[in-house]
């Protein structure tokens, strides 16, 4: 297995912001007929620079925290780092299997039973069905759902639904783990066990990327912080220093 590493060089991400008008073919054709100049202002094809001049090299063992105000480009950078957006300029090299725990409910079908949902969610996490089967008893144990596991997911209480989604999502041990805020797990009794499991996943990952607004969380989990502002890197360094600047200003 190759060791995980991420290298972004001169990355720029430009977003076309399409509204209904510019996603529509009719307007495209009309603007071609009318000469385009006037219509282009009306068709709403605004271009937003999501990221600019991003140079990052992440090595195994690094726990990288992303911080920045809303709209600074955190989500976009998370997507570039997990290989979903391919940069419009520059290069992004991502080595190692990457799993993002952004929406842990992704793939879950409320009509399916808990057991079926373990398979569905697991497949979304990149696990093979055979691997999921081997793990499912352990996952069911962890959720404490008991016989409920064979009932449809929609019949679960919110807490139970969250437990199941959490248990499956944390069953993998990816090389690169991408998270948007820490996974919150709600009920107190479960929280402690969940936190322990989460810590296991995080420490097993070679690279952690965590976007957060929480000072405490970043300080506890990261050994490097990247501060984004207007799609550019404002600061990249030791957590203490970056946090001091970020919260001080």
């Amino acid at each position: 297995m190759i060791t995980a590493s991420i290298e972004l060089r001169q990355v720029e991400v430009v977003f076309p912001v399409y509204n209904a008008a510019s996603l529509s073919l009719k307007n495209r054709l009309l603007s071609a007929v009318t000469g385009g100049k006037i219509d282009r202002q009306h068709d709403g094809a605004i271009i937003v620079k999501g990221l600019q001049d991003i140079n990052i090299m992440i090595n195994p063992g690094e726990r990288v925290g992303l911080l920045g105000h809303n709209g600074a480009g955190k989500t976009t950078l998370l997507r570039v780092l997990s290989g979903i957006y391919q940069p419009t300029q520059g290069t992004a090299q991502i080595n190692g299997e990457c799993v993002s725990l952004i929406n842990i409910g992704l793939g879950i079908d409320p009509e399916a039973t808990g057991r079926e949902n373990i398979l569905l969610r697991g497949v979304m996490m990149g696990m093979r069905p055979s691997a999921i089967k081997a793990m499912s008893e352990e996952i069911i144990d962890f959720t404490g759902l008991g016989d409920f596991i064979d009932l449809p997911f929609r019949t679960y209480s919110t807490g139970m639904q969250l437990r199941l989604a959490f248990a499956v999502s944390t069953a993998v041990r990816p090389q690169i783990l991408v998270m948007d805020e820490w996974l919150s797990t709600g009920d107190e009794e479960f929280k402690e066990r969940a936190d322990r499991r989460m810590t296991d996943v995080v420490s097993a990952a070679e690279i952690l990327i965590l976007a957060s607004h929480s000072r405490e969380l970043l300080l506890n989990n990261c050994n490097r912080l990247i501060w984004l502002e207007h799609g550019k890197i404002r600061m990249d360094g030791k957590p203490e220093e970056v946090l001091k600047q970020y919260f001080g200003h």
């Binding site: 009719k26 990457c98 979304m124 093979r128």
Partner: protein, 269 residues
């Protein structure tokens, strides 16, 4: 590594190969789509079969009377036609939205884009398998014999699907960028349903002009290579040649196209 070829398709091929290698993904998801739709119903996915049976009976009676053709001749051909068309139009109509409906997944999980296309293919193949149950019933009722040629229809079906997938690849990309293209494609399929000999017979067409129109309809050939063997006759050489040539040209074009725009798809969602 691909420097010498005229068009670069390496990334598109890698995407599709990886989708095929991780076949369990599209199989699980496609199966799930069908299961979800019918989970709370007692008859389950066999509603598909029932719906199809009702539709074929009505069309059979109405058009059989209208065209004054013997029902025993007409119904078997109509049944296969409707079932195969159901597959074709399902693939095109749902293929257009392959990426749009998988938006959440595409923006969060790194998986081959072709997986979302193959998921639609798999889903529609399951639905077609349910509809196929009608076929033996119709053949039994009218005591229509089946000969060894029927096996050829499997080859025809394979060729049909190979052709459909390249069309879906292109359509899915275009429809993600231009959302109302989906409506255009759906309208086109509606028109093509009447322009393809499903509820009527190719020999009913008068004049050479109409024959030309019929022959430029790609779905006419694709339908024939599945339907004719089941009815005990060999599809024409033209049917085979058109289907094969279309598959080759279509795939070359689709790979180049997909290679060019694949990266942009997440940005358009």
């Amino acid at each position: 590594m691909n420097d010498f070829s005229l068009i670069n398709t390496s990334q598109a091929r890698a995407d599709i190969l990886s989708a095929l290698k991780n076949y369990y993904l599209f199989i699980t998801l496609g199966w799930q789509d069908v299961a979800t739709r019918y989970r709370r119903s007692r008859v389950g996915a066999f509603w598909l079969t029932i719906n199809m049976l009702v539709m074929i009976s009505v069309l059979g009676v109405v058009f059989g009377t209208l065209f004054r053709v013997p029902v025993a001749e007409f119904l078997p051909s109509l049944t296969i036609g409707i079932i195969v068309w159901g597959l074709i139009s399902g693939l095109i109509n749902e293929g257009c939205g392959s990426f749009i409906t998988a938006q959440e997944t595409i923006l969060q999980v790194r998986m081959p884009l072709a997986t979302h296309i193959l998921r639609v293919v798999w889903r529609n193949m399951i639905i077609t398998a349910h509809n196929l149950l009608i076929l033996p019933i119709v053949f039994l009722i009218f005591m229509k014999p089946v000969n060894y040629l029927a096996l050829l229809s499997l080859l025809g079906l394979t060729l049909l699907i190979i052709n459909m997938v390249w069309m879906m690849l292109i359509l899915a990309v275009i429809c993600t960028r231009f959302r109302d293209f989906t409506q255009i494609a759906q309208n086109a399929m509606q028109v093509l349903f009447y322009a393809t000999p499903i509820i009527w017979h190719a020999e009913m067409l008068p004049g050479r002009y109409a024959q030309v129109l019929l022959n430029i309809n790609p779905f006419y050939h694709l339908l024939n290579i599945v339907r004719e063997p089941l009815l005990g006759s060999m599809p024409t050489t033209v049917n085979w040649v058109v289907s094969i040539v279309m598959a080759i040209i279509g795939w070359v074009f689709a790979l180049a196209f997909f290679n060019r725009f694949r990266k942009r798809v997440p940005y358009w969602l």
